[in-house]
Symmetry: C2
Subunit: 331 residues, 2 copies
């Protein structure tokens, strides 16, 4: 294994400590529950937003904490749901009188942890709601999921809910915004290589020298099809065929387009993909009003990429443009 | 080879086209000379700043074009200096009556192309100056370099010169600022893996399963030492020993610290490195006043990282904090 790591078991805490040291004025780190939070959270009167999920997907979600985005993120170990007691501790710490909303990507382990924490928190009188993200069109049901998986589209759900909460929306409204964005967001990814969790030390699945996995999950779960490596144009066309036909997106739509790297793919290749996706969508009569090119939701060091489309309406467009301040590019 | 690419010979133009399509309001792309430029360049009365260098180091330098940074970047092919006639064409297009400054990383091929272009441009009456960047402490002289190599510290030279030019500094002052920043900037990197240029299709050098290259160059040039893979702490300590002792940096110094990924290393590992570097420097009595964690100057898909320190004074600190608007994080 070739990674920057000391004790592989301490990979996540060591990474979170580095993140907090790099953002002393804006982020606070509580090692007791793996919690990265806004330094000023909970903000009195504001609905708080908390995201969990496994680690290994950075910048998701610990680097999406800040004004206009998440109030906190409590990740689990690499590719593992956060322990329920971490979620509960984070809930107690972040909840305000306006309440707290969980954003949960649709994986069974994450849902269990957050459902249990919600139940216990509500028994303590804390107002908690949950928004589920399930933007991945690749497969219905999968290794760790009943229903569809939540992947990079999560970023857009955070962005819109964070903006709504920041301007004082109540908990029902914050939940409505999140569910609305999720309902018009579709993603699909593909892997050129596997990835290696630090504590495992070997690749999590096998992919031959000339193979690619179309529709791969962000934990290496199987996708739609194991294919021979093909041209960038063919990859983009295949991904967009699946995404566009799913909602479906149609001529005349205005969209946000994200080209998300999975961790081991350089940004030069992501911009090459952006150009191809841009031309594909313009050819369909779809207008790209906002674009996001970079790493947003990764799978450790996996070489690969995902595309995400969000159908914009006036409300979503305005929320996407609202101010936010986190360690990653949000506009 | 597993990459997102159509025709490998068209990798650079395809990437640049994607970059321009993603930034329609701010960047212009001229395929005739591989030029990415500010949409409003040349800005009348302002000293223009142009960077060349090979491709394969993205976001350097084409994603560092915009207000407060570069006016243009004219990259060559992957790991190849830009052709002299591209540099000359870009010079003619970007120069103002206030002049134009080249920022050139110290590689023999780049220096030749820019020196010839400068000579020809000056013969046409264009005012041109050059700032050489040579921040890499790893080795004196190398495969493609007489003297020290220019690596990720280049970002800081661009940032300061861009800020100075934006506020109306004349050409002598812009050059002085660039040389001043370069003189207090030191970097060193290390590779965990090799990298694969699209047109070559195979790794550019060999690195065994348990080997790492300390002081690697950004084109895979040999560094100081081929070592066995070691802990992240040992790597950080070795890199900082080399960097700190070189200037030297000393207790009481205020610095900017960059943890730069070389392309194939996920940001989780970069933040882990940041935490270790932060504690190392604090232990030496050095204050980290600014930090930059992410990818700034890469080597395609190489797994690895570099550290850069800049000794801040009031002038540099203020220029680093000046506004800038490019597709990457600049604060």
């Amino acid at each position: 294994m070739k990674k920057f790591v000391n004790d592989p078991k301490q990979f996540v805490p060591d990474m979170l400590e580095g993140l907090a040291l790099a953002n002393p004025g804006t982020l606070t780190y509580d090692p007791a529950s793996n919690l990265i939070m806004r330094v000023d959270a909970p903000v009195p009167g504001k609905v708080s937003i908390l995201q969990g999920s496994g680690s290994g997907h950075e910048p998701a979600h610990v680097m999406a904490v800040g004004p206009g985005m998440l109030d906190g993120a409590c990740p689990g170990d690499v590719f593992a749901a956060p322990p329920m007691d971490y979620v509960l501790a984070a809930t107690r710490r972040l909840a305000t009188e306006a309440g707290l909303v969980y954003i949960v990507n649709n994986y069974t382990g994450d849902r269990m942890a957050f459902e249990m924490a919600q139940e216990l928190a509500e028994a303590e009188g804390i107002k908690v709601r949950t928004v589920i993200v399930d933007d991945d069109v690749a497969v219905d049901n999968s290794t760790f999921t009943v229903g569809r998986r939540g992947v990079a589209g999560n970023f857009f759900v955070i962005k819109a809910m964070g903006a709504a909460a920041e301007r004082g929306a109540d908990i029902d409204e914050v939940v409505r915004v999140g569910e609305h964005v999720n309902s018009v967001t579709r993603s699909m990814g593909m892997a050129l290589t596997s990835c290696t969790p630090p504590a495992k030390g070997t690749p999590i699945f096998e992919l031959g020298e000339t193979e690619a996995e179309m529709g791969v999950g962000i934990h290496g779960e199987p996708g739609r099809e194991r294919v021979q490596v093909r041209s960038a144009s063919e990859i983009v066309d295949d991904l967009l065929d699946a995404i566009v036909s799913d909602l479906p997106f149609a001529a005349g739509d205005r969209v946000a387009l994200m080209v998300n790297g999975l961790g081991g793919t350089p940004i030069s290749e992501l911009y090459l993909l952006y150009g191809l996706a841009h031309k594909n969508l313009v050819g369909r009569g779809i207008e790209i009003a906002r674009n996001y090119v970079g790493e947003y939701c990764t799978s450790l060091d996996m070489a690969g990429a995902s595309l995400t489309l969000v159908r914009l309406d006036e409300e979503i467009d305005e929320l996407f443009g609202a101010p936010a301040a986190v360690p990653i590019r949000v506009f």
